[in-house]
């Protein structure tokens, strides 16, 4: 019998199980284990909820993530819309320029922000943190929204105009609802990494403000693997929930889009 070509996927499947699925499983295993005895425990989670410092950091991180996401959305939507309009912008290079920073190391971009604040003689702190976050993640919001606006079939807009919609009605009733899938994926692409960043906050605030990612990193670095795993698992759950909400929003919106 001939060897089927589909078996070629098996080595990679084994690799994925060993180095993607298994490590994630290990996080879960460690999170439910006592550091000393190795027995099953919920203690790591109990410790999290009874350590106000960590809990506060967690809630503060969510707040920062939400503020960053909203600011990015407000700034990015008009930019994406202008980029997608051929009246205003004909060159793909401008689009490229907006997307390019996505590919530059987060650390370097953060240090660049530090440099900017140094240059302008502005103090580092919460202001710098907010600016740095928005600066870091803005391209991740512009790109998906631009994509959904760009791909939009112009006949929808022409149909709306043909049916007597004014430009603002066209935008509110057609363009905006149809671009919602892009908005949702932008929100996910900004919210998920902001909630998981580490190292950025300490550099931007001179160690004054700590985010949840840093808490996790410190625990892992200091040998508290079980507690660190529990915190990582909590972050995973938050991220999983966000992406579920995002998926939900996305399908709901695209269904709505289909009805128009």
């Amino acid at each position: 019998m001939r060897v089927k070509r589909s078996t070629w996927a098996y080595p990679y499947l084994v690799f994925l199980i060993l180095f993607v699925a298994l490590p994630l499983l290990m996080i879960a295993v460690y999170a439910f284990r006592d550091a000393q005895t190795g027995a099953f425990t919920l203690g790591n989670f109990a410790r999290f909820f009874s350590t106000p410092q960590d809990l506060n950091t967690f809630l503060y991180s969510i707040q920062v993530a939400i503020v960053t996401t909203l600011l990015c959305l407000v700034i990015a939507y008009p930019a994406a819309w202008i980029l997608s309009k051929s009246d205003f912008n004909r060159s793909k290079i401008t689009v490229m320029l907006f997307i390019l920073p996505m590919w530059i190391n987060m650390l370097i971009r953060t240090l660049a922000t530090v440099a900017l604040f140094d240059f302008l003689r502005l103090p580092l702190g919460e202001g710098a943190l907010t600016f740095g976050m928005v600066y870091n993640f803005l391209p991740f919001m512009i790109y998906p929204i631009y994509n959904s606006l760009e791909k939009m079939d112009s006949s929808y807009i022409e149909a709306a105009q043909d049916l007597g919609a004014t430009p603002s009605q066209v935008f509110l009733k057609v363009t905006l609802p149809l671009s919602m899938p892009g908005v949702w994926s932008g929100v996910l692409m900004v919210f998920m990494p902001t909630i998981s960043t580490f190292a950025i906050a300490e550099l931007l605030t001179l160690n004054k403000v700590k985010l949840f990612g840093t808490t996790i990193q410190e625990n892992i670095n200091n040998g508290f693997w079980n507690y660190g795993s529990a915190l990582a698992l909590i972050m995973l759950v938050i991220i999983g929930l966000t992406s579920l909400v995002g998926d939900e929003g996305n399908t709901r919106e695209s269904e709505k889009g289909g009805l128009i």
Partner: protein, 266 residues
């Protein structure tokens, strides 16, 4: 007309803000002043001391590590990812295929910190000493999915009868692969390789967790350690400028390649 100006102006302001920090670093990498923003005349001394000065040695080693890990992990990812893509492409739609594409998506969706910690925990649990090899493995694990995603569309756009045509003309399955399939996906394999290389040299979080404490540094962990110690030391300015230019060059290559392959497909 006014609308147009406002719209263009908005884009320009955003771009200026986006690029100002990098530009400032680039400009001030050509002066000697310790404090950023203090222009003390044009000089390439920072570039010279970058490669020869006190930090030189450890930094050159960090650059070597970054490049060698980048090349090795990109090569391994390309081989593994291409073989996997051919396999997945030939899988029937069903549970197996869905499972592997789901697993393939995880490293791309997972935040770096989770990928890093999960691999760290795995290596700790198995009792592996962390160092060069573990960093390499970790990089392969998050680069390969991108190679798979780069090669798959090319396979899909290929005429499905081409492989059969080769068999029909008397090629054995392996001859058909080498003489017909590989020549056609070669360019997307190369794109995958470049992408994997870019991702690898750009990585910070995963490397930080898997490098162990044997003193292994890549450029990004080196910068991090340095920045944490003393803020922004002057030597980092030329270094960051160079990294920015390298990424810019790689991205330009990737984009030109993908634009060209799109034109060819037409």
């Amino acid at each position: 007309m006014i609308k147009k100006l406002i719209a263009r102006g908005y884009l320009v302001v955003l771009l200026v803000i986006l690029y100002a920090p990098i530009l400032i670093i680039a400009v001030f990498s050509f002066t000697e002043a310790k404090v950023l923003g203090n222009w003390t005349g044009f000089s390439t001394k920072l570039y010279e001391s970058l490669f020869t000065g006190g930090l030189g040695n450890s930094m050159v080693r960090a650059i070597e590590n970054t490049v060698s890990i980048g090349l090795l992990s990109a090569a391994c990812s390309t081989v593994l990812g291409t073989v996997a893509a051919v396999g997945i492409h030939n899988m029937r739609r069903g549970k197996g295929r869905r499972a592997i594409t789901f697993l393939n998506d995880i490293p791309m969706l997972n935040p770096d910190i989770i990928t890093g910690i999960s691999l760290f925990i795995l290596f700790v649990a198995v009792g592996v000493t962390q160092g060069y090899a573990t960093v390499l493995l970790a990089h392969i694990s998050f680069c390969t999915p991108y190679v798979v995603l780069t090669v798959m569309p090319r396979l899909r756009s290929m005429n499905p009868n081409i492989y059969e045509a080769a068999l029909d003309l008397g090629a054995t399955p392996s001859q058909a692969l080498w003489k017909v399939i590989i020549p056609q996906i070669r360019s997307s394999m190369l794109s995958g390789f470049i992408l994997a290389f870019t991702l690898s040299i750009d990585d910070f979080a995963v490397t930080l967790f898997t490098k162990g404490n044997g003193g292994l540094e890549t450029l990004s962990t080196y910068i991090y350690a340095d920045a944490r110690k003393g803020g922004l030391t002057p030597e980092l300015r030329p270094l960051m400028t160079l990294i920015f230019l390298a990424v810019l060059a790689l991205l330009t290559i990737i984009n030109i390649r993908s634009a060209r392959s799109k034109n060819n497909n037409r």
